[in-house]
């Protein structure tokens, strides 16, 4: 089984979350590739069984510019059978909390087998660890059922 975590982060919150998710997956026996958005060119979505997408939100709940290409890749590739999850960090003082997670969610639901979403406020804290764990469990159990 092959998994990738594709993410973007400016101030480090989303990358911290991505790393936690990677660790949790590793504990569960799955070594996932951790891929920053600017290295996305190097991979093919079709090579993977599981892809988790991580993004912060910007500008009235929008997807950051550097994630657009990745968003479009899911739309154009044939990834119906791919199990996906989307996670992100945001700030609930903005009107659309983690809006980019929602936008990815709606698209991934149509084009892939979306299993789970996760939102964290700014830097992940102690109590978020359990949620990260669930996030991974959900992805893994989905693959078991789906494939």
């Amino acid at each position: 089984m092959k998994a990738a975590i594709i993410y973007t982060s400016v101030t480090g919150n989303t990358s911290a979350l991505a790393e936690i998710i990677q660790e949790k997956m590793e504990v569960k026996g799955l070594a996932a590739d951790l891929i920053p958005a600017d290295e996305f060119q190097k991979i093919h979505l079709n090579e993977y069984d599981i892809v988790a997408v991580g993004t912060y939100s910007w500008d009235n709940g929008e997807i950051p510019l550097e994630m657009e290409e990745i968003y479009e890749a899911f739309e154009s590739a044939n990834v119906k059978g791919l199990t996906t999850g989307v996670f992100g960090t945001g700030d609930s003082f903005y009107p659309y909390y983690c809006g980019a997670v929602d936008l990815f969610r709606d698209m991934l639901y149509v084009h892939t087998n979306l299993a789970v979403t996760l939102k964290v406020e700014l830097t992940p804290q102690e109590e978020d660890l359990a949620r990260c764990e669930k996030f991974c469990d959900r992805l893994l159990s989905e693959v078991a059922v789906f494939s």
């Binding site: 101030t11 009235n60 003082f93 709606d106 698209m107 979306l114 979403t117 406020e121 669930k134 959900r138």
Partner: protein
């Protein structure tokens, strides 16, 4: 390694022999010329553009509705409205000159440019409080209200914490004091505004004074981005100058923000006590939740118990709600997918 207590020199406007891309936030070499395509921290260009896209001015908001409603507010509401207005205006008045002052010592031109934009926005905020006042009460009363803000012992006590730090950087602009100034600026923009915001959003919840709260919403959005920028500034300052990244300075952050938290609670207990519908205990929890966010923004751990946002109604209105007609700087892509939720068979954590 630079001495953190050695005054920073006021930098020359142009240093032609130095590179355009600065070698440091402070004490760096920089020509003084700014080419946004060649900067040390490229994410600053995004932030700069985002800040500019926020541009708004008070006169764009028509106060007619609020002017009509003003007469229907209770005397207590009116009194608190005016006090909070002038108190917030006083805080913003400090920010414009301080931000421009900091510019003289920051060697990275892209950061200077952002400080300039922030100073400009603070000037707009300041004006918007005047604009609100001018729509509601005559000049004589406005002046009385400003005097009241100047004399109020609780307001003075809160401001003193910030003023001491800003003044001490003025007297002796060292890296250490710049760091302290930045933390105090986070307090000002990221903590001290919120009892005031709570009041205006509370009125808005009751459909009162919506034009004022629209302005407050613009202000909050700007302030959130300033706090984000200043946090970035602090993180980069500490990374580039490890001699500032000490146990004592981390403790300084915890102590200073905690002081601001206590002062904000004290202010809220005093100014909001007669406002029905704002639970002061809950607001105390809110301020702690808020401060935890500030700690996390600068990469530290929560200081107060972790909790959910207890007052979720204190937040920026959406663009749609603010009737924003300006097109966003970033191209708004129309999204073609229907909203889905956990009832569609996935989990939302």
């Amino acid at each position: 390694m630079s001495d953190i207590n050695q005054p920073l020199t006021k930098i020359k406007l142009l240093n032609p022999t130095y590179p355009n891309k600065a070698t440091g936030l402070i004490n760096g070499e920089s020509s003084g010329l700014l080419n946004w395509n060649d900067i040390a921290y490229p994410q600053m260009y995004d932030l700069y553009q985002t800040l500019l896209a926020n541009f708004w001015k008070a006169q764009e908001i028509n106060m007619q509705d609020d002017i009509k409603q003003w007469d229907y507010l209770t005397e207590t509401e009116k009194d608190i409205f005016l006090r909070i207005n002038t108190q917030l205006a006083s805080l913003d008045s400090l920010q414009t000159p301080t931000m421009t002052h900091v510019m003289d010592y920051v060697t990275d031109s892209s950061f200077k440019a952002i400080f300039a934009v922030i100073a400009q926005q603070e000037a707009v905020h300041n004006e918007s409080y005047s604009y609100i006042l001018s729509s509601l009460v005559p000049l004589r009363e406005q002046n009385q209200r400003f005097d009241q803000a100047k004399e109020d012992p609780i307001v003075r006590k809160r401001n003193q914490l910030i003023l001491d730090s800003y003044e001490s950087f003025r007297e002796n602009p060292t890296p250490q004091r710049l760091f302290e100034l930045a933390i105090n600026s986070i307090n000002l923009e990221g903590i001290y505004f919120y009892a005031g915001f709570a009041f205006f959003y509370h009125l808005a919840r009751q459909q009162k004074m919506l034009k004022t709260s629209t302005m407050i919403s613009y202000i909050q959005r700007d302030e959130m981005q300033h706090a984000y920028f200043v946090s970035q500034f602090v993180r980069i300052l500490l990374t580039e100058n490890p001699e500032l990244n000490t146990e004592e300075n981390i403790q300084f952050v915890y102590n200073t923000i905690d002081q601001a938290v206590q002062l904000e609670k004290e202010w809220a207990d005093y100014i909001l006590k007669d406002i029905e519908g704002i639970d002061l205990e809950e607001f105390h929890g809110y301020v702690e939740y808020l401060a935890n966010k500030r700690f996390r923004q600068i990469g530290l751990d929560n200081y107060y118990p972790e909790r959910e946002n207890p007052m979720q109604w204190i937040h920026v209105f959406s663009d749609e709600m603010m009737n924003e007609t300006k097109s966003d700087f970033f191209e708004q892509k129309s999204r073609t997918y229907t909203k889905v939720s956990s009832s569609n068979g996935f989990d939302e954590l």
